[in-house]
């Protein structure tokens, strides 16, 4: 039994500047519950499109997409998405942002406070409850965004290049944090990234996508022990995964450059 099942999934954008572009086609991917899957591929290959389809914010043009055996039909707080740009509500405090999903569900204030406190603690932001987003660093904003997504106890959390605009050190710190949060929140993660080492470090499985129209080119199981540690980065197995994945991505990239 798989939690996420995508079969022959296709998405064609009908409007806007990307009119009639086939973003993904013949896209097949199966993800088990509580698995951490990264999706890596050349820019514009449709990685984010797949996340938007799973979130229900975009509708597939053709193919099947099942979550927990049910077809996806519009957004659902059980499938939360976190974007690279944080997209916090600037008029709300950290607590206000985290509580947004609960406020929508009309959960009483006292209960809301309890739940939000737990998640603020989970992402390590105790003491910052009453700060506004503009008072926080990029890394802290992304922690708020993650807590905000987790507050509805989602089955799936979708992360679209969440650490893309952070500096290298913050990024490394948050990677480790994310593993801890994933472990504690017991959810399934779909993680889009450009960084191959990040994908290897975090994931159970790494899906390599072809250039547009994107499909899954290869799904690789990362057989490294958990908990993952930073010294694994220099282990020969880690390096071997990295080298192999880089090769796969480069093939696609070369195809793109040859076309130009």
């Amino acid at each position: 039994m798989y939690l996420i099942e995508a079969e022959k999934l296709k998405k064609v954008y009908a409007e806007g500047k990307s009119k009639n572009t086939i973003a993904i086609e013949d896209f097949n991917l199966k993800v088990k519950e509580r698995e951490f899957t990264s999706i890596v591929g050349p820019s514009g290959c449709g990685k984010s499109t797949f996340l938007l389809l799973v979130s229900g914010l975009e509708k597939a043009t053709a193919g099947k997409l099942y979550i927990n055996g049910q077809p996806v039909n519009g957004p659902d707080p059980l499938r939360s998405i976190v974007f690279q740009e944080y997209l916090l509500f600037p008029w709300k405090t950290v607590r206000g942002n985290v509580e947004f999903g609960l406020e929508i569900k009309r959960i009483p204030k006292k209960k809301r406070r309890e739940i939000s406190s737990a998640y603020i603690e989970l992402v390590g932001l105790e003491g910052f409850e009453n700060r506004y987003p503009h008072e926080l660093s990029g890394g802290m904003k992304q922690r708020v965004a993650i807590a905000r997504a987790l507050v509805n106890k989602p089955k799936v959390i979708l992360l679209d290049e969440p650490f893309g605009s952070l500096d290298a050190l913050t990024r490394e710190g948050l990677q480790t944090e994310l593993l801890r949060i994933w472990h504690e929140a017991k959810c399934t993660v779909l993680f889009v990234t450009h960084s191959i080492s990040e994908a290897v470090y975090l994931s159970d499985k790494v899906a390599i996508m072809s250039k547009r129209p994107g499909r899954i080119k290869e799904l690789i199981t990362i057989d490294l022990p958990r908990p993952r540690t930073k010294d694994m980065f220099v282990s020969s197995e880690f390096r071997e995964y990295e080298r192999y994945l880089k090769e796969l991505v480069w093939e696609e990239f070369n195809d793109v450059t040859n076309e130009i």
Binding site: P77, L87, F89, W91, F100, H134, A149, N152
Partner: protein, 260 residues
């Protein structure tokens, strides 16, 4: 940007210099005091108006008229603005009217208003309404339409839909623009009320000025103009204070220039 206290005095240099030069020219170089009454004479006149209390009913009636038109314009501007931003059908119907009426100078409509509403308070309030309505309606539309599409996606992914999306995301996110429109309109209301009171009125601060001119009391005329300047200035300051209080998060965000 607030200046440090020790530089604040710079801001009063130019008004004081203007007054001093004017006074010197008026006293020591021959100019007709009928055209250029010295500031000392203006302020003496102003002092008399305040001491006798004669100026206050004029101020009160002007502000009452301006405020009545302003409140009507704010209610109509917000309602229509939200409707236009909400439905493209409403937009297609209303937008041509907005675009055709907006460029008409407020004062070009004065004769029409006199015929429709008489020369009493009705026509004056209608004129104020015309002057205040457009900044509010246009900023409301632009504010709602300008909300980051991805912020809306983030909110939808957290479970917000329909009216919740409007009340909890779109309106708060557009508030800085909406409030800016409302602040611009406070200035508009002062400009319009003075003008229309000069055309037809037997009370109000605009009437005070034009009446002084008709009776060749130029010092009194300038005293009235000082009152107008002071009123407009104070009104804008009050509007700014309200704006900053309401939208502390926004001012800070724009100053820090950060992504939120």
């Amino acid at each position: 940007m607030t200046l440090p206290m020790k530089y604040k005095y710079r801001k009063i240099i130019s008004p004081i210099c203007l007054m001093v030069i004017w006074e010197i020219v008026g006293r020591f170089i021959w100019v007709d005091p009928f055209f250029f009454p010295p500031p000392s004479a203006m302020f003496k006149e102003l002092y008399a108006m305040i001491i006798t209390g004669e100026v206050f009913p004029h101020i009160a009636i002007s502000i009452t008229r301006a405020l009545s038109g302003y409140i009507l314009a704010a209610v109509a501007g917000l309602t229509i603005g939200l409707l236009v931003a909400w439905s493209s059908a409403v937009e297609d119907i209303i937008d041509p009217l907005i675009e055709l009426i907006r460029p008409i100078s407020t004062f070009a409509l004065v004769p029409v208003m006199f015929i429709w509403f008489g020369i009493g308070n009705g026509s004056k309030i209608a004129i104020i309404f015309k002057a205040c309505f457009f900044p509010i309606v246009l900023n409301t539309i632009a504010g709602i339409k300008g909300v980051d599409k991805k912020l809306i996606q983030a909110a939808r992914s957290l479970g917000a839909n329909g009216s919740q999306l409007w009340i909890k995301v779109l309106i708060p996110a557009a508030l800085p623009m909406i409030v800016t429109g409302m602040r611009i309109s406070t200035a508009m209301s002062m400009l319009a009320i003075v003008g229309v009171e000069m055309l037809a009125a037997d009370s109000g601060i605009g009437f005070l000025v034009i009446d002084a001119q008709r009776t060749f009391a130029t010092a009194r005329m300038f005293a009235g103009i000082i009152v107008i300047s002071f009123l407009g200035f104070s009104l804008d300051r009050i509007a700014r204070i309200i704006q900053n209080r309401m939208l502390a998060w926004h001012t800070e965000t724009s100053l820090s220039g950060g992504m939120v």
